[in-house]
Structures are given as structure tokens and as C-alpha cells.
């Protein structure tokens, strides 16, 4: 009896979580001009509109530019920070860690507003560069945390071993540390890209028309001209998220094989 109840409840929760996402699929294939269910008929017109309209294509391109740039910068910063923090023990280590994870807990609207004001002073507001910097700030803590987690299982003697065998510290890091913490680095990189790719609040403050990212363009599409193209954009974003999920899962499995290969003591 309890078993049946638990099963039904679990499926209900799952449905509750996924249902809103499912609604968007039929809508995106609708042939009608208004966002209603049931759809009057099926067509690919909104996908056509997405792929043939310059502002949607530009928005997609901008999202990729900002996402990839954020991913690269945040991964480099987060990984090196994590390695440094893990390597040494110093007073106030927990304080530094807390400060570094601050962008994760501060309400996004607060971060966005303060960045807008700060960036106006230095002339970074209303530019993709400003958005890249802002996204890097909120994405770096994710990299820091995933890399710190991988470093937990890293044997510091391997670094000493590499140094004793004649590797310069940078070479030892690249040849020994990096391959072994790669699962954490890759997961962090994917998180960083995803954080930037679906970020809207900061984008509203910092981007100007013509430099809209995909979420910003969707927001505009909803508010200013209710166009069903946003459903097509949504489906494309969902598919991209799935691809990212698969990549991170593949990286995690590969990493598990490697860490299962940790030398027994």
C-alpha cells in the first residue's frame, strides 16, 4: 500500500516538474498566431521565423559569444583559485572561500543593479564585454566549487612526485594535476556556460538592443510583441541544455573511471 502511494507520489512530482516544459513543445509547432492550447494545427513557421530573422540569429550568436568567453575566463580563474586554496593553509581561508562564493548567494537583482552602476563608471555598461565580465563574476564560484571537490581526491604527493622527476611547477600542473581533476574542471566549465547562457537579469541591465542575448531577446519577444517565435527559441534552449547535460554526464563517467584508477595506498 505504502509502496503504491510512494510510486504514485513520485510520478506526480516528476510530472509537476516537467509539465510546464512539455507545454512549450506543441506550442512551438503551432500554426496559429496566438499562444493557445490546443493548437489549431502544426507547422514549422515559428522555427522558420527564428532561423530567418536577424534579431533572433544575432541574439543566439551573442549568447554563444558571451557564454563561451565566460566559460573560458571563469574556468581559468576558478580552477587556479581552487588549486591555490587547496594547496595552502592560511588564516582566513574560510573567509576567502565565503567571499568567493558570494555571487552565488547574493540576489541576482542586487548583483545586476550594482554591476550596472559600477560598469557605467568604467564604461563597460551597454556592451558585450560588460556582460562577459558580469557573467564571469557569477559563474566563477561554480567552477571553484566543482574543482575544489575534485581536488579532495587528488593526492598532493603526485605533484611532489612530478617536481622530483624534473617537471617545472607549471608543467607538473598541466601534465599531472589537470588531467586528474579534469572531471571537476569540465563540469565547472559547463556550469559556467549554462549560467551565462540562460542568464536574464544582468542582461536586462547591461545589454542594449542589438546586443541582446537569447534570453533577453525572448523577454523582449514576450513583452513587446507577443510572438510565438519565443516558443521555438525555448525549445532550442531546452535541447541545448540536454546536450550540455549529456556532455557533463559523459565527462563525469570518464572521470569516475580515472579516479577509480587512483593508486591504492
Amino acid at each position: 500500500m505504502t509502496r503504491i502511494f510512494v510510486t504514485v507520489f513520485a510520478w506526480a512530482v516528476l510530472f509537476f516538474l516537467v509539465a510546464p516544459l512539455l507545454v512549450i513543445f506543441p506550442l512551438s509547432f503551432s500554426s496559429g498566431e496566438i499562444l493557445t492550447l490546443p493548437v489549431p494545427g502544426y507547422s514549422l513557421r515559428w522555427y522558420e521565423d527564428f532561423f530567418l530573422t536577424e534579431r533572433w540569429l544575432d541574439a543566439t550568436k551573442n549568447s554563444f559569444i558571451v557564454g563561451i568567453a565566460t566559460m573560458i575566463i571563469a574556468t581559468v580563474l576558478g580552477t587556479t583559485a581552487a588549486y591555490g586554496i587547496n594547496l595552502t593553509n592560511f588564516r582566513g581561508k574560510t573567509v576567502v572561500l565565503a567571499l568567493l562564493s558570494l555571487p552565488m548567494v547574493v540576489p541576482l537583482i542586487v548583483t545586476a543593479a550594482s554591476m550596472y552602476l559600477a560598469f557605467s563608471v568604467v564604461g563597460l555598461a551597454n556592451s558585450l564585454w560588460g556582460l562577459i565580465v558580469a557573467h564571469t563574476i557569477i559563474a566563477t564560484p561554480y567552477v571553484l566549487i566543482t574543482v575544489l571537490a575534485s581536488l579532495q581526491t587528488f593526492d598532493p604527493n603526485l605533484m611532489r612526485g612530478a617536481l622530483s622527476l624534473g617537471a617545472r611547477p607549471v608543467t607538473a600542473f598541466r601534465e599531472v594535476v589537470l588531467p586528474l581533476i579534469m572531471p571537476g574542471v569540465a563540469a565547472g566549465a559547463i556550469f559556467a556556460f549554462a549560467t551565462s547562457f540562460d542568464e536574464l537579469v544582468i542582461a536586462i541591465f547591461i545589454t542594449s538592443p542589438g546586443e541582446f542575448t537569447l534570453p533577453r531577446q525572448m523577454f523582449a519577444g514576450l513583452r513587446e510583441f507577443i510572438s510565438p517565435t519565443i516558443t521555438a527559441a525555448a525549445v532550442i534552449m531546452i535541447l541545448l541544455s540536454f546536450i550540455l547535460l549529456f556532455i557533463s554526464e559523459a565527462v563525469r563517467r570518464r572521470g569516475e573511471r580515472l579516479t577509480a584508477g587512483k593508486v591504492k595506498q
Partner: protein
């Protein structure tokens, strides 16, 4: 082996290592490692032996003093330029590289040609009998095999010296004894200086040209295995290097190294050899005699002869251990070889007990360690 007359390979000149501003782990260390020598640093944990190795390796910096290698100071030379082969306690094999790739790593770092790397990896694998396993990952190897890969990787680039930090600690007894002989063979074949850190006295005795016994950050005694085992200069060294019967006494007469000592309180007088320093009549001393030095007969040359009652007999295969109660002396442990004639010992029997004056060592003062009155 020590080449007399040649300049020492490594010199520790008055080296201190202090942690957290107050804990002195290594205290005014003066130590020379000779060319081609196998030197073991032996001591309990926390005695400073591993820190000494880490300072030579470049992972720790001396708080004070200088380390010289071939006459040149090492203080500002980073580890990767020191050119020492290091074998770590947990081996530190790179888990993402095969055995051959692990061995190739130091050669790649030295930008050797691919062909050269191939030959040297192959040759070194042959040396440690691992040819067949070169394409395995470290996790697919047994503990003993991993140990040999670590050893091979530390030798493949022909380092100027090899440092080993308890390399056999993780292996079972039989494998450990086998590897001891293997490392000794490699040392003799290659003629390279090796610094070996262990807390296992039998390992130190088996392998070393010289042993430095560490305690509380200082070398308590340094010398050949035979010297350190048979002629310990302090109660610490004596008790760390194997088992001892320990008695307290008061000096009755002292002539050079020959002393006669009355076992306290009120026991018989025994003759012993002074381990170092000088004593005067009425000084208290600690006496030590090893179980294997106690004979179950009244040997002609033995200065100390008593009768003892057997309290306990424990059979160990090749020998028996007997607890003997001697009037006025107390309980002595004797280690007696089991001979083919098969003498039977029964608890309660009275047996003759003797030991020579040379084999009973007298240490000035009482207490667990005796560094202040030493040498």
C-alpha cells in the same frame, strides 16, 4: 660503499627546521652522506628523519643552516632542478599514465629523444623485472609491482642520488624482505648514493652501509649497522635497536670502560662495559643486555654467572624465549636457539645463566634517554 678521501656528496651544516615558530623538528643537524653510500635514517615517528629527507628533496626549507650537494649550497635550488630520484611511501605513481609512460615522464621532462626514451624505459623495466607490465595502468598492479615501478621511475633518469621515504611500509613482511634485497642489489649494481628513511630497525640493519639513529630531531648515533647494534652509545639507541634486558645499578668500581655495578636495590654485583663517557664510584647507571647474549650455561669467559629459575617458555620455531628469575636481579629474558639435540626447558627448572662483561653495556644516568651524558 664509502670511498675514503673523496669529498662528501651531501653535507647538512647545522640545519634546524622549526614548525609554527616553536616546534623544533630538526635540531642543529650535522650529517655527511658519502659518495655512493647507502645511508639509513632510522627513528620513531616525529624524530625528524622524514623532515631531513624532505629538506634534501627540496619540499621543505631549512629554518637555519645550509645543505651542500657536491660542495654547492642547495638552499635556493628548486626540487625540479635537484635531480634526485625520490621514492614516496605511497609511490605517487601517476594514475592516468601507463607504467611505461610513468617511466618516460622524467625523460620527457629532460627533453630526451623518443628513441632514447624508449631504450632507457625498456632497460630500466628489465632491471626491476617489469618488462611484461609496461602497458598496464598503475591500478592494475599489485602493491609490490607498484613499488617496483616507483623505484624504476626514480632510477630511469640516472639521478645524482636516490631518496626513499619508508618505501616498503605498505608491503607485507615477505614482500618487504624480498624488496630489501632487491634495493640493496640495485644499489650495488648502480653505485649511486641512496638515502633511506625507515622506522624499521631490521630493515636498516639489512640494507645500510651506515645508520643514523634519530630521536627528537637529533642524530643519537651514526655508524655501521654492526656498530650501532652491538655498541649503542645511549639507552635510547640500545632500546630502539632490538630488545634488551634493562637493570639499574650503582657503580662499585670503574677502571676505564670496565665497571662493576651492584644491582639496586641490594642485589649482586655484575661486571659490564661502559657505553661512553665516564662514571665515578656510587654513580647510578642503567645496564642493558640483549636476550641473545644470555647463555644457559656457565661459559668460561663469562664474567657474570648466576642460577635462574625458568618462569615461562615460549616456542618461536627457530628459537625459544625464556623468562628467567634470578635472585636479586629480577626477571631476564633469554633467547635460546632450538638445536637439533632438542634441550627441553620446563618452567620451574633451575638453569645456569651467564653473560660476558662486554655484552652488558652500562649507561651513565637513569631514564629513557641519555643524550646529555653521551659520548
Amino acid at each position: 660503499m664509502t670511498k675514503h678521501g673523496a669529498a662528501p656528496l651531501v653535507v647538512f651544516d647545522n640545519v634546524d627546521k622549526v614548525y609554527d615558530g616553536s616546534t623544533k623538528v630538526v635540531d642543529a643537524l650535522n650529517l655527511q652522506i658519502e659518495q655512493g653510500e647507502f645511508l639509513t635514517l632510522l627513528g620513531p615517528s616525529g624524530s625528524g628523519k622524514t623532515t631531513t629527507l624532505m629538506m634534501l628533496a627540496g619540499f621543505e626549507a631549512p629554518t637555519r643552516g645550509t645543505i651542500l650537494f657536491d660542495g654547492a649550497p642547495l638552499n635556493n635550488v628548486p626540487t625540479y632542478k635537484r635531480d634526485f630520484g625520490i621514492v614516496f611511501q605511497n609511490y605517487a605513481l601517476f594514475p592516468h599514465m601507463t607504467v611505461a609512460e610513468n617511466l618516460a615522464f622524467p625523460l620527457r621532462m629532460r627533453r630526451e629523444s623518443a628513441a632514447d626514451i624508449e631504450t632507457r624505459v625498456q632497460r630500466t623495466l628489465g632491471m626491476v623485472k617489469l618488462d611484461a607490465l609496461k602497458d598496464r595502468m598503475p591500478t592494475q598492479l599489485s602493491g609490490g609491482q607498484q613499488q617496483r615501478v616507483a623505484l624504476a621511475r626514480a632510477l630511469v633518469f640516472e639521478p645524482r642520488m636516490v631518496l626513499m621515504d619508508e618505501p616498503l611500509g605498505a608491503l607485507d613482511k615477505q614482500l618487504r624482505e624480498h624488496m630489501q634485497l632487491e634495493i640493496k642489489r640495485l644499489h650495488e649494481e648502480l653505485g649511486i648514493a641512496m638515502l633511506y628513511v625507515t622506522h624499521d630497525q631490521s630493515e636498516a640493519l639489512t640494507m645500510s652501509d651506515r645508520i643514523a639513529v634519530f630521536d627528537e630531531g637529533r642524530i643519537q648515533q651514526i655508524g655501521s649497522p654492526r656498530d650501532v647494534y652491538a655498541r649503542p652509545q645511549s639507552t635510547f639507541v640500545a632500546s630502539f635497536m632490538g630488545e634488551n634486558n634493562r637493570l639499574d645499578g650503582t657503580v662499585q668500581t670503574a677502571q676505564g670502560h670496565d665497571v662493576s655495578v651492584q644491582i639496586t636495590p641490594g642485589g649482586p654485583t655484575v661486571r659490564a662495559a661502559l657505553a661512553g663517557g665516564t662514571v665515578q664510584v656510587a654513580d647510578t647507571v642503567t645496564l642493558m643486555v640483549r636476550p641473545e647474549c644470555i647463555r644457559l650455561s656457565h661459559e668460561d669467559g663469562a664474567a657474570n654467572r648466576f642460577d635462574g629459575r625458568i618462569a615461562e617458555v615460549v616456542y618461536h620455531g627457530d628459537h625459544v624465549r625464556l623468562s628467567l628469575v634470578v635472585d636479586g636481579v629480577g626477571t631476564l629474558v633469554a633467547r635460546h636457539p632450538v638445536s637439533e639435540t632438542g634441550t627441553e626447558f620446563t618452567p620451574g627448572d633451575i638453569v645456569p645463566v651467564s653473560w660476558s662483561a662486554q655484552q652488558m653495556r652500562a649507561f651513565a644516568g637513569k631514564g629513557p634517554s641519555n643524550t646529555s651524558n653521551g659520548d
